[in-house]
């Protein structure tokens, strides 16, 4: 780990430098390819695996089951409602989740009793839910509205804080990149899209922008010091800033990802808590991609947008000439 400190020193001084801005064509290409894959997968693979909250239906969950075999559940449902299509999944080590189409109240009670019997638990340990098809859609609608308002407000606030709208645009593009890729991961892994996953998505927004703000603050600081006779062109100053905060980016990414990875692991494999698992997958992917996109997408994009400004071009040219003269 001491190496990371050394690495940080070298990055800070510029001894080592990753060319985030210079090789932007490469980074853009990677981002575009990843995004394209993320769009193609759901299109080709039949879309997202929407949770019962979006489809509607009845759901039973059995805790502390004596067995996690699926057949008893299917039989138990068939007993009450012959011909019913039943989806059975194992949750954690001793949990079974059974999903059916919407059942009546009476059927629900019977199925719950029959499941309790089949898995050797008390009826009280069988959780029964019924979800109307509009439930998930409602939450999503609200979430999308929240998302749009948040993006608009965040853009304005960032533009005001950094005194340039170009940082807002760069941050938003990176954010879009994060969301598309996270959605792509959901499609690729077949994880259920539940309201909890939607919460995860919304948090990514916060994280992605948060991370970008931290790095951009350093960028602002460095580029703000560029004077008439700077040794750095604008892009170089941006690149140095990103490199100088790289250790922070890595540390933050790791520290933010560790607890989330713990939730994902515990939620999916050990204890079985759907909500935790659904939130954490979105978050884990979002944190990794969000940290990545700040340095590989947002920063180069911002440098590129500003480079073209006449003022900056003039300064850059002067810097290059001065440097050229000095070299020769």
């Amino acid at each position: 780990m001491a190496n990371l400190t050394q690495f940080g020193n070298d990055l800070y001084t510029g001894k080592k430098s990753v060319s985030f801005v210079g090789k932007r064509r490469l980074w853009y290409s990677i981002a575009i390819v990843l995004m394209a894959i993320s769009v193609v997968i759901p299109l080709a693979g039949g879309g997202f695996n929407f949770g019962i909250e979006f489809r509607g239906g009845s759901q039973f969950q059995i805790t502390g089951a004596s067995t996690v075999e699926q057949q008893p559940a299917i039989d138990a449902v068939q007993e009450v409602v012959p011909g019913e299509v039943t989806r059975v999944t194992t949750v954690g080590s001793a949990g079974v989740r059974v999903q059916t189409d919407q059942l009546t109240d009476a059927e629900t009670r019977e199925v719950a009793a029959s499941l309790a019997d089949a898995y050797g638990v008390q009826v009280a340990d069988v959780t029964a839910s019924f979800i109307g098809p509009s439930w998930g859609a409602d939450i999503t609608e609200q979430a999308v509205r929240g998302l749009l308002v948040f993006l608009a407000l965040a853009s304005i606030i960032m533009a005001l804080y950094f005194r340039t709208w170009k940082m807002s645009v760069a941050a938003m593009v990176a954010l879009l990149h994060d969301l598309v890729i996270t959605a792509g991961v959901y499609a690729a892994t077949g994880f259920e899209v539940t309201p909890a996953a939607i919460i995860g998505f919304l948090t990514i927004l916060g994280f992605s922008l948060y991370d970008t703000v931290v790095v951009f603050d350093k960028v602002r600081e460095n580029t703000g010091e560029l004077g008439q006779q700077s040794r750095y062109t604008f892009s170089e100053a941006v690149n140095l800033a990103v490199n100088q905060t790289l250790v922070r980016s890595i540390n933050t990414g790791v520290v933010a990802a560790l607890p989330v990875a713990a939730i994902l692991f515990i939620g999916s494999f050990v204890l079985g808590a759907d909500t935790l698992r659904d939130i954490s997958l979105a978050l884990l992917v979002g944190i990794i991609v969000g940290t990545y996109s700040t340095v590989f997408v947002a920063a180069p994009l911002y440098a590129q947008m500003r480079e073209g400004e006449p003022e900056i071009r003039k300064t850059d040219d002067r810097t290059r000439i001065a440097r050229g003269e000095a070299v020769v």
Binding site: I157, Y210, R231, V254, A256, P259, I263, A273, T275
Partner: protein
């Protein structure tokens, strides 16, 4: 001089932090001792087990629900649930149109039916009334010839001996009914399920305040036939407005017809039988006397109304029948076992996550990592107290989504420290002494932290305002942690750093301190002796002094002569 000021400031900040923690603790202790507060935050249904029902209004194309209607519906549903003896039920609105009913435990079918059925507003003629508080002696207007109940005689006649001719017919009051009435206790009203009592039979019930009990005839008009109800001041016969509040009632066509017939009959009767009771969910909300025959479908209820009470009655009449039907959008029963296992999962995941963060911090920042850990602990304590107080005062419930918000917050909170530490290291790399680096790094870090946390806070606020259900629970915990995070950085982490900077261990940059200037590449010549920031080194950039003067001197120079070793640069620096 520079030595004592930061330390003093640091102690002041730490004192403030102590004051805040002590205040929060005291507030919560007060809540526990003198009110129904608790040392643990209350848990939401998904962690505690229970049933959550989301009711959605059934609306036609283009119809909307007004906030007023929704509030009315919530209070009606609350009355119904309370009637079922279910304690601690929570009914709230969600978004602009949904109603969420949360009940601990698993409710019986009867309670569920009661919640899901629509409210029933009925008009029934009064047959017999009596004060409920006193034991039954001499009923007003009651047929005194009705056989008094005899304890010895087992089954009383419950079928009218003479078939009643109209709903006001006292023949409805059978000996059995009278006996029930005589011994009637208003506490029983709710248990009787009068909301679902047959419409063609008489009932025994009480008024809202449990002060009067009634025997009522069969239903004559139902709430559906009310077109409108409004509160207003009465006008006298000259058309001038009087100071008396009343409720104006308008019936629709069917209601008008029915009401004309009823008022004609009741107007001719005397005593209690002149009264016409309005029954909401089995309880009499008002039983005005009939002062005339109303044929135009407009009636006016007067009495000792205030503006508020007339408005309340008008609302009950108008919305009492829940003009908008509600359908169950989702019903979620979570067993207590599942709830507690989800909570355990959350806590274990949080603990593991925290442990990993601690290990990583110690690796990265050596003993400085303990500052991170201590800061996280302080943040944890504050968060816990705030959640406990919020669940006491604001009815906040910690849900699984909220737990996720808390766990995620570990990372975000730790990041504030990382940003700060990295800034300090940057300043050290620039050759500042630790104390100076802490102060200079702090200024820059604070700005970044506040800007970045601002974005986080914005997302929490937007989610809270616009989103519903679980998303909201998440937004609350997330928002709280963002605020506490900033508080901890300002009042704990920074002061601690200021104090540590004065200790030899850190100031001398011990290898394990995480702030070893040598490891950080700073020029260091022994305690408190640092090479002064080098002035222009290379000829080619000698002119560029102004822009690089203050801080990036070394760093930038190194960038340009990337291959030079550290010693090289330092000697060159001395030369110039």
């Amino acid at each position: 001089m520079a030595r004592s000021t930061p330390a003093k400031k640091a102690w002041r900040s730490l004192t403030w932090l102590l004051v805040i923690i002590a205040t929060l603790t005291a507030v919560n202790a007060g809540g526990v001792l003198f009110s129904n507060g608790s040392w643990t935050p209350k848990l939401a249904l998904d962690l505690e087990g229970g049933t959550q029902i989301v009711l959605q209004p059934q609306l036609g194309e283009g119809e909307t629900v007004s906030g007023e209607q929704l509030t009315q519906a919530v209070s009606i549903i609350r009355q119904r649930i309370d009637a079922g003896g279910v304690s601690e039920a929570e009914i709230s609105t969600q978004g602009t149109q949904n109603i969420v009913v949360s009940i601990p435990g698993v409710p019986d079918q009867q309670t569920l039916d009661r919640i899901e059925s629509s409210a029933k507003l009925e008009f029934r003629p009064v047959l017999v009334t009596d004060a409920a508080a006193t034991s039954a002696t001499g009923e007003d207007g009651a047929d005194a010839s009705a056989a008094p109940s005899d304890p010895a005689a087992p089954p009383l006649e419950s079928t009218p001996s003479v078939s009643p001719t109209d709903p006001s017919d006292l023949n409805y009051v059978t000996p059995a009914l009278l006996d029930q009435f005589t011994n009637f206790n208003c506490d029983d009203v709710d248990a009787l399920g009068l909301n679902t009592a047959p419409a063609d039979q008489p009932i025994v019930t009480c008024d809202d305040a449990d002060s009067v009990k009634y025997v009522l005839g069969p239903v004559e008009i139902t709430g559906e036939n009310i077109a409108d109800a409004s509160a207003g001041l009465s006008t006298n016969s000259q058309g001038a407005t009087t100071n008396e509040w009343g409720v104006n009632l308008n019936f629709d066509a069917t209601g008008t017809e029915q009401f004309a017939a009823v008022s004609e009959r009741l107007f001719s009767l005397e005593g209690a039988r002149n009264q016409f009771a309005v029954v909401l969910d089995g309880r009499v909300i008002t039983a005005p006397t009939t002062g005339g025959v109303f044929t135009n479908g407009e009636a006016r209820i007067t009495g000792s109304f205030t503006q508020d009470s007339s408005k309340a009655l008008a609302d009950q009449l108008k919305f009492g029948a829940l003009p908008i039907g509600f359908e169950v959008q989702s019903r979620d029963t979570i067993s207590a076992t599942l709830g507690s296992s989800q909570l355990t999962s959350g806590i274990i995941a949080g603990a593991i996550g925290l442990l990993l963060v601690v290990i990583y911090s110690l690796f990265q920042y050596r003993l400085l990592g303990f500052v991170t850990v201590a800061s996280l602990i302080v943040a944890g304590v504050l968060t816990y107290l705030v959640l406990a107080i919020m669940s006491w005062r604001q009815g906040f419930r910690l849900s699984l989504a909220g737990v996720a918000g808390l766990i995620v917050a570990i990372g975000f909170t730790a990041d504030s420290f990382i940003v700060y530490f990295e800034r300090i290291r940057d300043e050290l790399r620039d050759g500042r002494s630790l104390e100076a680096a802490v102060e200079a790094g702090w200024k820059r870090a604070l700005r970044t932290i506040i800007a970045a946390k601002g974005v986080n806070m914005l997302s929490a606020v937007v989610l809270f305002v616009l989103a519903i259900g679980n998303v909201r629970g998440f937004a609350i915990t997330f928002g709280i942690t963002v605020i506490i995070d900033v508080l901890v950085v300002v009042l704990f982490t920074h002061p601690i750093m200021q104090l540590l900077a004065t200790t030899r261990f850190y100031a001398n940059g011990h290898r394990l301190s995480g702030l070893d200037p040598q490891a950080l590449g700073a020029v260091y010549r022994g305690r408190a002796q640092f090479r002064a920031p080098v002035a222009a080194a290379q000829g080619k950039k000698a002119a560029g002094g102004k822009e690089a003067a203050r801080r990036q001197t070394i760093a930038e120079r190194k960038a340009t002569e990337a291959e030079k070793s550290f010693e090289d640069a330092s000697t060159k620096g001395k030369k110039s």
